[in-house]
């Protein structure tokens, strides 16, 4: 046993957001000179925990000790001063500034208090880069560097801050094999110098290669902390997935009818590779996969928001090639996007006007507003979907997440669409509203619609889907029916650990 207190000890950390308990009494500790992997499904609480560590969020409860000293981390600047550096998936680099300026940003060496000391800046960058043994020109602008090099600059920046704790969030997601090997060599060097590294990743092979210990989170709770030398992949997958299906999923299955949407060999320039499937009337087709597996890209491609490179889409048996969402909507497709506030609603506008937006052929016949029809559609949405609001003139910005989602759904119900793409339909929605959304999905399938449901919540995928498709790295890698879709099987396919 070690006598010295650990570098970091987070004890019984709790954090709630409206409608969601993101973290519930989580313990996490980090020793000097170890790589501690943080593992869990999307939404398990990994990012929230790390945002608390890096000062971006304040915990509601719990304590944080750094080297035995209790600390309240007040802000990202404070975290940095305490020696905690975080490298997010989206880098915090200024593209047009040179590497040296980025490394010193906010702590520029100066002459006489205000003149930039460019030589010192350059020297600092050179030292940090040399320590990493990477050949990057400190004068090169960030925008001229590749992703892997930018990552190295982030690491160099963290080093120049004298970081004792380094948090890396999915650092390899955009790197090639050789770049990953280089990164790992650097991580090991940092570890050997006594830096504690928190490493967030989904990739099983990597975890075993780089990690010393692993902590698994699930639903905002701490499940287990294990030594990576002794644990097996199977055990880890079970830690991540195993839970009782206590939440309520009122799925009523409907005898599936004719195919509504048939996709063959769908490929896009950016992500999708040879995706084929069919969606039938009365069916909920679950689409599982990790963040970045290509699910949202599939939804956008089907909806005509991103161009196809290759492949065939048939709607009601007719081949279609949508060049814009407008054409997809006319064919009967509706998209409920993942990010309701950015993509689903025009927040400053009222419920009434948001519902009118895709229904102008009804609200503005011959180009002129029919107020009665406008009001009727909005009232139908509010009463039919039980949107909690004082009136239909309410700006959608003022609604709760669940009610916003209902308004997005209401837009498409009024359009009488029959192919619904739900992207994370219940993210950030409280449990009561969730069940209501599930009931509405039942109603849609009963009325003959088909639903493609993208979800990162495993219980939701298993509880509501008639069939489950699994995506990984832009491809469909598994298909399960209600009988053989288990958490372990689906998660295993998503992680790529199934034989």
């Amino acid at each position: 046993m070690m006598d010295a207190p650990p570098l970091l000890a987070m004890h019984r950390i709790g954090k709630s957001f409206p409608g969601v308990r993101a973290l519930d009494g989580v313990d996490f500790d980090l020793r000097a000179g170890e790589v501690h992997v943080l593992l869990g499904e999307n939404g398990a609480g990994k990012s929230t925990l790390m945002k608390i560590l890096s000062g971006a969020y304040r915990p509601d409860e719990g304590t944080i000790h750094l080297a035995g000293e209790p600390q309240r981390i007040a802000s990202p600047q404070h975290a940095q001063a305490l020696g905690i550096s975080t490298i997010y998936q989206e880098f915090n680099l200024v593209p047009h500034l040179p590497v040296s300026a980025n490394i010193s940003l906010g702590r520029e060496p100066r002459h006489a208090g205000f003149l930039l000391d460019r030589r010192a800046m350059r020297k600092k960058a050179e030292t940090a880069l040399r320590e990493l043994e990477v050949a990057i020109d400190p004068d090169s602008p960030i925008s001229a560097l590749g992703v892997a090099e930018q990552q190295m600059v982030e690491v160099a920046k963290a080093l120049s801050l004298d970081a004792r704790i380094l948090v890396m969030d999915e650092p390899t997601s955009a790197l090639t094999e050789t770049e990953i090997a280089n990164l790992f060599a650097i991580v090991r060097r940092l570890r050997d110098r006594g830096v504690g590294v928190v490493y967030i990743s989904h990739r099983m092979e990597e975890i075993f290669e780089i990690g010393d210990r692993v902590t698994v989170l699930r639903d905002g709770r701490h499940v287990a902390t294990r030594e990576l030398g002794t644990v097996t992949v199977r055990e880890l997958v079970r830690d991540m997935a195993d839970r009782e299906l206590t939440e309520h999923f009122p799925r009523e299955t409907v005898e599936p009818g004719a195919p509504l949407l048939e996709v063959r060999g769908l490929t896009t320039r950016t992500k999708l590779r040879d995706v084929s499937f069919a969606l039938r009337r009365g069916e909920i087709l679950g689409l599982a996969g990790l963040l970045g597996s290509g699910r949202t890209e599939l939804a956008r491609a089907l909806f005509g928001a991103d161009p196809l490179q290759d492949g065939e889409v048939r709607v009601h048996g007719r081949p279609c090639r949508f060049r814009s969402p407008r054409e997809a909507i006319q064919a009967g497709i509706a998209l409920l996007p993942e990010d309701r506030r950015q993509l689903g609603l025009v927040l400053p506008l009222s419920i009434k006007r948001n519902v009118s937006l895709p229904n102008t052929h009804r609200v503005y016949p011959r180009g002129l507003l029919r107020k009665t029809e406008e009001r009727r559609l909005a009232e139908e949405c509010v009463t039919g979907l039980r949107v909690k609001t004082p009136h239909i003139e309410q700006a959608t910005a003022n609604l709760s997440g669940g009610n916003q989602q209902k308004v997005v759904l209401g837009k498409w119900l009024a359009r009488q669409s029959d192919i619904f793409i739900f992207d994370e339909p219940t993210r950030g929605i409280d449990i009561g509203a969730k069940v209501e959304i599930y009931r509405l999905m039942n109603r849609l399938t009963r009325e003959g619609a088909g639903i493609l449901m993208i979800s990162s919540e495993m219980p939701e995928v298993l509880g509501m889907s008639d069939r489950v498709l699994v995506m990984r790295e832009g491809r469909l890698v598994g298909e399960f029916n209600r009988a053989n879709a288990t958490q372990e099987a689906v998660l295993g396919a998503a992680l790529g650990t199934t034989p």
């Binding site: 969402p325 909507i329 025009v346 006007r353 937006l357 002129l368």
Partner: protein, 315 residues
Amino acid sequence: MNWKNLILHHGRQLGTLAGLLLLCLALTIATPYFLTVSNLLTVLEQVSINAIVAVGMTVVIITAGIDLSVGSILAFAGVVMATVLQREVPVPLAIGIGLAVGLGCGLTNGLLITLGRLPPFIATLGMMSIARGGALLFTNGRPVSGFSDGFRALATSQFLFIPMPTVIMLVVYLACHFLLTRTRFGLYAYAMGGNEQATHLSGINVRRHKTLVYGLCGLTSAIAAVILTARLNSAQPIAGMMYELDAIAATVIGGASLMGGQGTLIGTLIGALLMGVLRNGLNLLEVSSFLQQVIIGTVIIVAVLVDMGLKAQKK
């Protein structure tokens, strides 16, 4: 409509209106020349040109854009129309050509912004210079003066004792208010300004409608050009300098947000009147024109500060 609804939905305009009435009250007390029929009609006539330019500007600002070229388009459309008028072309046709020039410049702005993906500030900054240069080239820098009485009647005649420019202004406001509140074009303008991506994903052809919005702005500038030319009996290639700033000021005082998604023509009309009354009052009080600029700038800033304060309080 009951009072509660009126205050709920039009609180911002009522606030500006209250400011306007207070200003009128103060001027009535301060000078005997303000509250006379002839003076008020003069104010309405003077305001009409800025108010019409501000119509197009309001619609553009609702879509979260900006149009810096309105003054230059006004000058360019004016000199083209004036030149055609002097060739003995029928008046309606000459006016039609002038309006087409404005519309064309506006649509060009729109295409540069939608197809060319230029920021509105840059595209219209370029057009500001191009249209101004065009007006100077077209006339060799000289004004084009002297028109038939028929054409000048557009500015000098009256309708029910109301000066014709004011009548035209009211017609433009009514038509565009209708466009904004009763047609899908209006709905799309607010939607694009509020959230362009969500609007696109709702199946709306954002490019087409945004292009049309800039076209409309060019058109209203050209309408203002017709009135100005008739009023001065002369079209000047240097007309309309700084008009973009007056139009933006009227729009913003009227409650539109430069962030987009908000704004009404009723508010803009009140904003334009407020600025007109203020100028008129300061003239009547014989305040120097140098000090007037300081006062008007202050009013713009105070109006927006008060508005932001009220909005923050609401949240």
